[in-house]
Every structure is written in C-alpha cells, then in structure tokens.
Amino acid sequence: MKASTGLIIMALSAIILLLPGKTLAQETPMLINTEARLENVLMLKITPDMRVEFGIKKINENLYQITKQPDDVMFSVESTGNWDLSISSDDSQFTGISDSTHKIPVDFLGLFVENRGTNWDNGLYSNMANITKDTVVYLSPERTKLLESGVRGNIGSSLNNAFILRWKFFYEDEVLKLRKFSDYNIEDDIYTVGFYITLSESTMNTKVDQ
C-alpha cells in the first residue's frame, strides 16, 4: 500500500513538473488584413483593322468569279460578367477600292460565328445562344445580335470565349440562291466595308446569383 502511494506521489510530481513546460510554450499570433478587389473586365480581343474585303470578276452574265475571299476574323471575349455581342457595318454598301463608284449592298455578304472556346453556344439554356448556329445572317448597317448570354452565363477568359467570324456569300447557300446576282450591278473590283463588333454587358444573372 505504501509502495503504491509512493508511486502515485512520484507520478503526480512528474506530471506537475512537466505541466509548466507545456503551458509555458508561448504562442504569439499576429494578423495581416488582406483585401481582394475583383474589378469589372469586359474586353474584346480582335484585330484592330475591322474591315471585310472581297474581290469579284464578271466572267459573263451568268458567271462571276470570286478573285479574293474575305478573311475570317478570329476574336475572343474576356469578361467578368455576362455579355452579348452584335455586329453592324459602317456603311450600307461595299465600295470598290479601285473605283469608289462601284457599290454592292452589304447584304450581299453573310456571316456566321464558329465557337472555338470552352463555353457552350447551344442556346439560352447553355452558356450562350449563338444566333448564327444554324443559319447565316446578313451583314447590315443595323446592329445584329450574334451571341447572347445564356442561363449558365458566359463569363470567362479567351479560352472560354474564343470565336471565328466566317463570311459567306449567299449564293453559296442552296436556300439563298434565290437571290440572284442580277439583283446587283456588280463591276470587277475589290470591294470593302468596315464593320463594328459591339460587346455589351448582359443583364442575365450570373450562376452565383441563381
């Protein structure tokens, strides 16, 4: 009995001796306040010279040759909010480069947008709706909406929002062949017109708002 009491006393003494060592392990905290400001970014990355040009040559009354194809235009959008995109020409007519009296209405040329980014363009229930997904739209001096934010939102970088604007002559399309070349008075020339791409914030809610 005495031996066990002695052991208990020794154990308690050891604990008491050890305790101060543990409790004396000081901890000194310091605080650093950090703030992250995520500002609004809405940016269109595109070549600065936004003009479309094509060359055409009349072979005979029923045959024309395209001597210069219009160049496709790569562009991307970087945005911290949802966005819409539209296009318009800066004139109602293409103008000949060699002779400015040579004119062709801008609706002679159509266009569509090919999606190359990771955001989907399958409609308003995806990241965005691509109006030209299944059709070709006319170039027009009026602003024509091409891409519209969907419910999943189209926020993202140029990896998410990368596109190619492709031009298409309407005579290339079976349905549109109804429009005859004879509707236009086409002279041999290289024709050009400027165009605007307008990027605007969308009122569509973001995903975190939903």
Binding site: A25, T80, T206
Partner: protein
C-alpha cells in the same frame, strides 16, 4: 597599588566598550535574483494590410504579385525569442463585402526570404523560398518557418520578408485561374476580405 589597580580596571572597561561597539556593525546581504523568463515576440514591421486588385484580363488569367496588383505585396516580420520557435500561418476563405460566393484561400500564396542573421537551411528552415514553390494558404495552420539548428535571437537574427501572390497558380496554390473560378460561379466580381494569422510558437 590601588591606583594601579584602578587604572587597569578603567583600561579593561574601555576595552570592553570598544568591543561592544564593534559588535553593533551587523552586515546584511542583498539577494539579487535575475530571472530570465522566456520571451517570444512576433513583430510585423510593415505590410500588415495587403490589397490585391484584379483590374485586367491578364490579372485574372495570370494572377497578381507585388510587381503588379498587390500593394504593398510583402510583409516584413521579425521574431525576438529567448528560445527556439516556429511560425505557422493560416487564414479563412475570402468573404465578400460586395459580390457573391467566396474566394478559396488557396488562391493566396506566400513565399519567404530570410534577411536577418539566421538563414534558411542553417538556423531556420522554410520549404517555400521561391514564388514557384509558394505555399497556397489553408484554413488550418501550416508551418511556414521551422527550427533549423537554433533560432533563438533578436530581431536582427530573425528577420524575414513574406512575399504575397494571388491567383498565380504557383506551388501549392489553387491550380485554376481566377477567371475559370469566376466562370464556374465560385465567386463573382466584387471586394473580398480575409485575415491571415501568423502564429509564432515556442519550442519548449
């Protein structure tokens, strides 16, 4: 004879008085106790408020550093310690003051530079000595600077610069760009805050 005896008696009495006076000087000791208690101070010399601004697509794609985007982008800390110590770091996720969602704290990174006498690999150790090896912060404590051989010392010994990064995807930081996290709806644009806690702990 009587006179001689009287003189002797007087001499003895005087001698005794002298002896009695000497006994009155009583020396006392002053006991001086020097108690060297353990002292552990963590001092943030500057950079206790950090502001990271994402203002361009490049910022969202590549992140921000003290070279651009984070002001001031670094924090100078010093430790005064009578014994060995180690430094832990943690922070909660960024919460919005404006905006929605929260920014995972591992988007915030830190790496260390030793500018005092104590150097990494000798008196102290640190696994995060370059931006490429940055530590992505966590909500639980992670050891940022640890004991090497012996790191007791004053502020000139233990002087470190903590370099801050955000959204750079380096080291153990979040591997997704801020843009992709934004696109995935984890958070929206806005202003977010978090408080980083540095804890210096004594090694008993």
């Amino acid at each position: 004879m009587k006179k001689i005896i009287l003189l002797l008696g007087l001499l003895i009495a005087l001698q005794m008085q002298t002896t009695l006076r000497a006994q009155q000087s009583d020396p006392e000791n002053v006991v001086f106790n020097a108690i060297l208690s353990g002292a552990f101070n963590l001092v943030v010399q500057n950079g206790d408020v950090q502001t990271a601004t994402f203002a361009s697509a490049a910022d969202y794609n590549n992140g921000v550093t003290e070279a651009g985007g984070i002001v001031p982008g670094f924090t100078t800390v010093a430790m005064e310690a009578t014994g060995n110590w180690f430094l832990k770091i943690s922070a909660p996720d960024f919460m919005p003051t404006t905006g929605t969602g929260s920014i995972p704290i591992n988007n915030l990174g830190v790496w260390c530079e030793a500018t005092g006498v104590h150097q990494f690999g000798i008196e102290v150790t640190c696994a995060y000595q370059t931006a490429d090896a940055a530590l992505g912060l966590a909500t639980s404590d992670v050891t940022l600077i640890d004991l090497g051989s012996d790191n007791a010392g004053d502020q000139t010994d233990n002087l470190f610069i903590l370099h801050w990064l955000m959204g750079t995807m380096q080291g153990s930081m979040n591997s997704a760009t801020m843009f992709s996290q934004l696109a995935n709806g984890i958070f929206s644009q806005g202003t977010y805050t978090s408080t980083v806690v540095l804890t210096m702990t004594e090694i008993p």
